[in-house]
């Protein structure tokens, strides 16, 4: 890929709403992405390989569990900083952001929120540095939008449980050292547990042939009579509330991440439109191109405002799941629309790996589906404002 000349748009001077520390965190991750991610990501995406060598650096820049307190090895940052880290990572690539989201919100968060003190001390510090990598198993082949219907289950055998079932579409599964797995007990109640690689009967086949998130490893989790020690179960959390609160945290991060992808597409399109000459003038001089660019920066600015406010609410513990759904849905759709428009502005060049556009566009097709599909989030808002569930 050509050199990364990214300049972040800040049309409404929203930087003034950020603290010095939040800006330092963001600029640090931005510099790291320019140095470590941009030069290699196109190649890894083309070859459909996860760049494992980035794990250590991701840990160092605080991408793993940004808001996990320092006593458990996390950086102990606030929610806006967490969001900004996700924004910058996804500016590089949604796959890299996915790895960080999963590790932070779907693995470290549940261990921190629902784990025993021993579990926290055993896993969190190593997850924060990337020495241990985790994945999150909720989705099953026949239960995606409706996880409540899951079939994975476990039976109580005294000092351990025996776990059976299969999970699908699991980010990081092919290389994860541990998996946070959600399964039903004998009464049909959803419980969470930590399954470790190496436990007999536990395998993680990789899913091949993706056209999206190619630089992120996705796979299955297969449990064939896996003996899991009882101390690996989360003691108290029961029902869908457990996994949903993890998703809440991840979706929040995604709502920021999507802005990163959108900003990268806009920035590239804006620069290209000033350089590309057709009919004797830069294509940025044509009204139709300007319409695209003007709408892009308008939508990005609105999304920035939305997430900033959401971050403040989250810092105050007041952000509702429905508010997070709105931001995730709006921002990912906004980013996907911008990626498509930006691709048009780049003409034929837009389909090549010379520019990040097509990669972002294809990545966002996953982002708009995982962590609750675009339509499911709409139904959540619908339910929230009417009080009537349209799911079933």
């Amino acid at each position: 890929m050509a050199t990364d000349n990214f300049q972040a748009p800040d049309y409404y001077l929203l930087d003034e709403l950020l603290t010095d520390e939040q800006k330092l965190v963001r600029d640090t991750v931005r510099a790291w992405v320019k140095k470590e991610v941009s030069p290699i990501i196109e190649d890894y995406a083309q070859r459909a390989e996860f760049p494992k060598q980035l794990i250590k650096g991701l840990g160092e820049v605080g991408a793993f569990g940004p808001y996990i307190p320092q006593e458990y090895g996390g950086p102990g940052l606030d929610q806006v900083s967490y969001g900004l880290i996700m924004q910058e990572l996804e500016r590089g690539d949604s796959g890299i952001r996915s790895t960080a989201s999963v590790q932070s919100s779907l693995v470290m968060y549940p261990i921190y929120a629902f784990g025993t003190e021993e579990q926290k001390r055993k896993y969190l510090p190593k997850l924060a540095t990337g020495e241990l990598m985790g994945c999150f198993g909720l989705t099953e082949p026949d239960h995606g939008s409706n996880p409540n219907g899951m079939l994975s289950n476990f039976k109580d055998k005294g000092d351990h449980v025996v776990l059976n079932g299969a999970k699908m579409w699991i980010s990081n599964s092919p290389f994860a050292d541990i998996a946070v797995v959600w399964a039903k007990d004998e009464q049909g109640v959803i419980r969470g547990m930590i399954v470790e690689r190496g436990m007999a009967g536990f395998t993680t086949p990789e899913t091949h042939g993706k056209w999206s998130l190619r630089a992120s490893a996705t796979g299955e989790l297969v449990f064939d009579n896996v003996k899991v020690p009882k101390e690996n179960l989360f003691p108290d959390i029961k029902g869908l509330k457990g996994p949903l609160s993890c998703l809440n945290s991840a979706r929040y991060g995604i709502s920021w991440g999507a802005i990163g992808a959108a900003m990268d597409c806009y920035d590239s399109a804006l620069r290209y439109s000033k350089e590309r000459i057709q009919f004797g003038r830069p294509i940025g001089g044509f009204q139709l191109t300007q319409k695209k660019l003007a709408e892009m920066i308008t939508e990005i600015t609105k999304a920035q405002m939305l997430t900033w406010r959401l971050g403040i609410l989250k810092n105050e513990n007041r952000a509702t799941p429905a508010q997070i759904s709105m931001a995730k849905r709006n921002n990912v759709h906004m980013a996907l629309t911008i990626a498509r428009e930006a691709r048009q502005i780049h003409g034929g060049m837009g389909i090549t790996g010379e520019y990040p556009i097509m990669r972002h566009m294809m990545n966002l097709e996953s982002v708009i589906t995982y962590e609750g599909t675009h339509d499911i989030h709409l139904l959540i808002t619908g339910y929230d404002v009417t009080g009537i569930s349209a799911f079933e």
Partner: protein, 246 residues
């Protein structure tokens, strides 16, 4: 080894430079400031490398108002042990050198590092003046620095080559590209920077020798004039009458 690194802050490289309406001052409105890259990438990082290899401490010093503390915190996040802010709008190079000298003179530093110039005013003056005020040697434009047995070995650029200089400590060195590689702070550093000491020191003796009268932006790059390859005569004419180069 006790090292002092002078850091100044400069507008981010992507800033559109503008002046106040009377052209007497740089318009800071909406401008993001960063640590002067020569100070950060080369002077500070080399100081940290020396501390990591040989022990000791690295202090950063900056003359500026309170709003410059964000850039100072970044230097702490990259790894400096503590920081000093001289509470003053930096007047001119002499003013800054005098402030730093007043602070440094009785603190037994082994080494003071500065960047070769700021990327904003490009003065290249503070290092030399500071050395003179401290009564120490000064080596400018250093691309490599090693210290052993109380002696600094410095490589510096000279016209068409490199010169290797040896000099006993203490001394002042101005650093440039080649001396070290830029470091990105890590999150641990950012967190640690929250609590590292940042002392605010009052101005000791405010003497400014120069003052800027007015500023003018450089003329932007002019549009390129294309001349038909067949029309050599016109090209020669324009080079003579318009560009005035022949």
């Amino acid at each position: 080894m006790k090292i002092l690194v002078c850091i100044s802050n400069v507008p981010d490289t992507t800033t559109k430079i503008a002046f106040t309406s009377d052209n007497k001052e740089f318009n800071k409105q909406g401008v993001q400031f960063i640590i002067n890259p020569y100070d950060e990438w080369y002077a500070l990082v080399r100081a940290l490398e020396l501390r990591e290899a040989q022990g000791g401490s690295v202090t950063v010093i900056h003359a500026g108002a309170a709003d410059s503390e964000a850039t100072i915190r970044k230097a702490l996040a990259i790894g400096a042990d503590d920081a000093v802010r001289i509470d003053a709008e930096p007047g001119d190079a002499y003013f800054v050198a005098e402030q730093v000298a007043a602070y440094a003179k009785d603190k037994a530093y082994d080494l003071v590092l500065v960047g070769k110039e700021t990327i904003s005013y490009n003065g290249s003056l503070v290092g030399g003046m500071l050395a003179e005020m401290l009564g120490w040697p000064f080596v400018s434009l250093a691309t490599k620095l090693d210290v052993a047995n109380n002696t600094a070995t410095v490589e510096q650029d000279i016209d068409g080559g490199t010169q290797v200089v040896e000099c006993p400590l203490p001394l002042v060195i101005s650093a440039q590209k080649g001396m070290a590689e830029a470091r990105i702070p890590n999150m641990r550093g950012i967190m640690a920077a929250r609590t590292k000491p940042l002392a605010v020191v009052p101005v000791s003796n405010a003497s400014k020798l120069t003052s800027a009268e007015s500023y003018q932006p450089a003329e932007g790059r002019k549009a390129c004039k294309m001349i038909d390859a067949a029309n050599m005569q016109q090209l020669v004419e324009l080079l003579h009458s318009e560009a005035k180069v022949i």
